[in-house]
Amino acid sequence: MTEFTPGPALLGGALIGAASAWLLLADGRIAGVSGILGGLLRPAPGDRSWRLAFVLGLPAGYALYSWLAGRPPVSIEAPALQFAAAGLLVGFGTRLGSGCTSGHGVCGVARASPRSIAATATFMGLGFATVFVVRHLLGGA
């Protein structure tokens, strides 16, 4: 159970939006994490270094924030098997669906792409439904 934190949510969101805007205006690229990571799994010479730099920047930014402001909580209640299955589904699903919360949810919705709006509505809907089933029908976490 967590509490509503409107200030950090808006400010953190604005930073995520600024990072996406910057990657677009500087490199011409969509800041979609699953797509950038997925591109590293394919042989594409000359296309790896910016991807790797972005991907490594994520934990570096997290570490920088932790160092400046204290480590944010990471609370995982799901059993290990469920959590690993979740990772598999997220990895496969975001590649099959060409995007995740950042590529479709932020960049795609920001440019009013019908595909991304449909994708975002789908994963949000299934996310709501899955949590309802797990927590309120099955009594899990």
């Binding site: 949510a9 930073l15 500087a26 994490v33 909580p73 589904l89 975001t94 920001a110 309120h136």
Partner: protein, 138 residues
Amino acid sequence: MARTGAAALAGVVFGVGLALSQMANPAKVLAFLDLAGHWDPSLALVMGGALAVAAPAFAWARRPAAHPLFAERFQIPERSAIDGRLLAGSSLFGVGWGLGGFCPGPALAALAAGEPRVWLFALAMLAGAFAYEAWSRR
């Protein structure tokens, strides 16, 4: 070189944003997805804040004369068909998101949190992405 440096900066700022907004905390994300529980609407404001900043940049990039600083052209997806792969993939992702509370960005950012289960998730996520590569090339 400039291209790689710009991408590193984008990743770092993105990671700071995820840490500040607590979106790299699965409990926080699941509290948003749990409409029937003690609902935490924070994630909606994260999306709203991100969209408010990113949308003008995408509108600017659409001008005919616009080009990126360090690359020759914008690489923006042009497909518009809402097909079965898009919906099936997004559905599988949604189920995984609801089961774990992690999506790709937060899972990678939280690798710096020193919590072994984040690595479990990230490795499983990589395995899923590898499985997709194998499946799509069959």
